[in-house]
Amino acid sequence: MYIATLGDVEEDVVAAVERGLGHVYAFGVRRLSGLPEPGYAYDAQRGQYSSALVLRQLITHVPGDALSLLGITQKDLFIPMLSFVLGQAQLSGPAAVISLARLQQEFYGLVPDRQLAVARAVKEAVHEVGHTVGLTHCADSGCPMSLSNTVRHVDAKGAELCASCIVLVEEKTIHMRETGTTLNRAGTRSV
């Protein structure tokens, strides 16, 4: 499992996402060297970046041994139908991206809260990587795989997968896991 920054991203966020993904999924998390800002995906009319185009670009960088590649960007993402997306992933495909723009309190004119923004980023990372593994939205509102269209929803959910999603991850990644590596109830690795 790989993560890559797209342009400038604060180190504390990247480190937290790395730790969070490693804690939840039974795969090692590695960093790819930083990728450039997604200027190619910029839509001047909307002043936002097309997540579909970012994903297309990310696919070309997925290493051969990767289960998935998660891009992290400061830029605000959109798809044509929606005014914004917090992130997007290929369902059962290798590429995913999260945007930090709307996870920050200052986006809404509020007092910055670094800790909160980082916690939100981890949940969104777990969520989008879950899609790459093949998980769809979870009905358990406390599970990070539940649908979140606003930061309010993101804050309401936890960072660890629910029991059902853990089982699903096990099932969907059985062919990829190394012998003896399993997910426990908390989503941490045990050998």
Partner: protein, 453 residues
């Protein structure tokens, strides 16, 4: 998460694929089409629950035309028209042509999530409703007869009890109440089920022909009898002979029939050989045979011979609780037979059906539903579709002769008394018929000293 399928129709690849991907994350099965024509082709082979259709798709048919074609194939599909440039005209056209929603992109993600989940929720309820209705129909179904009425329930029990016997049965009931269905239920519930069930309508044929029809004839027995022919009694050997409209047969035939019922033997017309048969006779009459006997129009000995087991089917107006279940069942069957996509009855239409007196009983209801389906312009029968059924209350208004020398108060007292009697003391129903609230009705009852029962 869900078995519902969604179709995204857009000529722009990024738009199409990004929305499809977003919906797939929610667990929906999503298919895409690059043009209206491709969407219509796919809709021919698959039934999608929701269609997201872009309004403007250059080089082919536009979103509205696509929607109209899809609605012809799947009237129940929910179609969401998507546009980047909304105008009042296009919005009105889209909604008029049956779009479920008209949305302007980009939308708030929460809005789309709520819209899709709301539509799916309704579809789940509709599906659940259809399953429950089928279960209910099965529960109240007895050999193709639908009823939840306790009176009919007793008849079904009796049918089960007598099915294995050979005793003659007399079924009486108004025209259209389903006498032949009960006769068939008796036949097919018993051990004669594998043998023939032969029906004869006694009113349909003149006396001589009916005699030949029942008992058969020998070659040359009358002009036109060019060959020997078996009668219905012989055809029904081992099984059941259903004699419908028995009240209409001549006195000579009444006598012949009495002999067969007593002896189980008869001669073909013009024949010398006595034929013996094992036939169970079920007779039916839509006239009051008891009265016909008293008036000397029907032989009393034949009546007693036929009336070994008596079944009286109540008219539909005495089992109004069956009207919804029967109506829904007819809609389901007839819309399929007529090739129409009608799948429900509105509350208003059902109210009219419930209020109608149904002199022609279940047959009239079936015919009324057929007529309504033929003229129905949507997927649901509305009150307009059944407006040809004049409510009971209106029938009365046309022929009511207002008595002379009567005060307004007396008239009011008469009307209130009659209505309360008609509803068997049901104040809620009586108040509804009279168009007043219950407290007003209680005041009037007190004022005129009218007893509820």
């Amino acid at each position: 998460m869900t078995h519902w399928h969604i179709m995204v129709v857009d000529d722009e690849e990024v738009m199409r694929e990004s929305l499809a991907a977003w919906l797939r994350e929610d667990g929906y099965n999503v298919d895409t089409a690059v043009s209206g024509n491709e969407a219509i082709e796919k809709a021919r082979t698959y039934d999608y629950a929701i269609y997201f259709v872009d309004l403007k798709m250059p080089g082919g048919i536009d979103g509205i035309e696509t929607m109209m074609e899809i609605r012809k194939l799947h009237p129940e599909a929910s179609i969401i028209i998507v546009t980047a440039y909304a105008t009042v005209d296009t919005a009105i056209t889209a909604m008029k042509e049956g779009a479920q929603e008209y949305i302007v992109k980009p939308c708030n993600p929460e809005e789309i999530s709520l819209l899709v989940s709301r539509i799916i929720k309704v579809k789940n309820l509709q599906r659940e409703n259809s399953i429950l209705r089928k279960k209910l129909t099965k529960q109240y179904s007895f050999h193709d007869i639908l009823s939840k009425s306790p009176k009919m329930g007793k008849i079904f029990e009796l049918v089960k009890d007598i099915a294995a016997l050979r005793s003659t049965v007399l079924i009486q009931g108004e025209s259209g109440t389903g006498k032949e269905l009960i006769a068939r239920a008796i036949h097919f519930s018993g051990d004669r089920a594998a043998k023939p069930f032969v029906g004869v309508s006694c009113a349909a044929l003149p006396e001589t022909l009916l005699e030949s029809e029942l008992f058969g004839h020998e070659k040359g027995s009358f002009t036109g009898a060019s060959s020997q022919r078996k009668g219905k009694f012989e055809m029904a050997d081992g099984g059941t002979l259903f004699l419908d409209e028995i009240g209409d047969i001549s006195s000579k035939l009444q006598m012949d029939l009495l002999r067969v019922l007593q002896e189980r033997r008869f001669y073909r017309v013009g024949g010398a050989e006595e034929i013996e048969v094992d036939v169970r006779v079920i007779a039916a009459a839509n006239v009051d045979l008891d009265r016909a006997v008293r008036e000397g129009k029907f032989r009393d000995d034949l009546y007693y011979r036929l009336n070994v087991i008596s079944i009286k089917i109540p008219p539909l107006r005495e089992r109004r609780e069956d009207i919804p279940i029967l109506a829904h069942s007819f809609v389901e069957r007839l819309s399929h037979e007529l090739g129409r996509k009608v799948n429900g009855i509105s509350e208003g239409a059902l109210r009219i059906l419930l209020d109608h007196e149904w002199p022609g009983n279940v047959r009239e209801l079936e015919n009324a539903i057929e007529r309504a389906i033929v003229t129905c312009k949507t997927t649901m029968l509305t009150d307009e579709d059944v407006a040809f059924l004049v409510p009971v209350a209106d029938q009365g208004k046309a022929s009511w002769n207002v008595p002379s020398n009567i005060t307004l108060e007396e008239a009011e007292r008469h009307i209130i008394t009659a209505t309360v009697q008609r509803t068997h003391g049901n104040i809620k129903e009586a108040a509804s018929i009279l168009g007043i609230d219950r407290s007003t009705l209680y005041d009037r009852l007190k004022k005129y000293n009218v007893q509820r029962e």
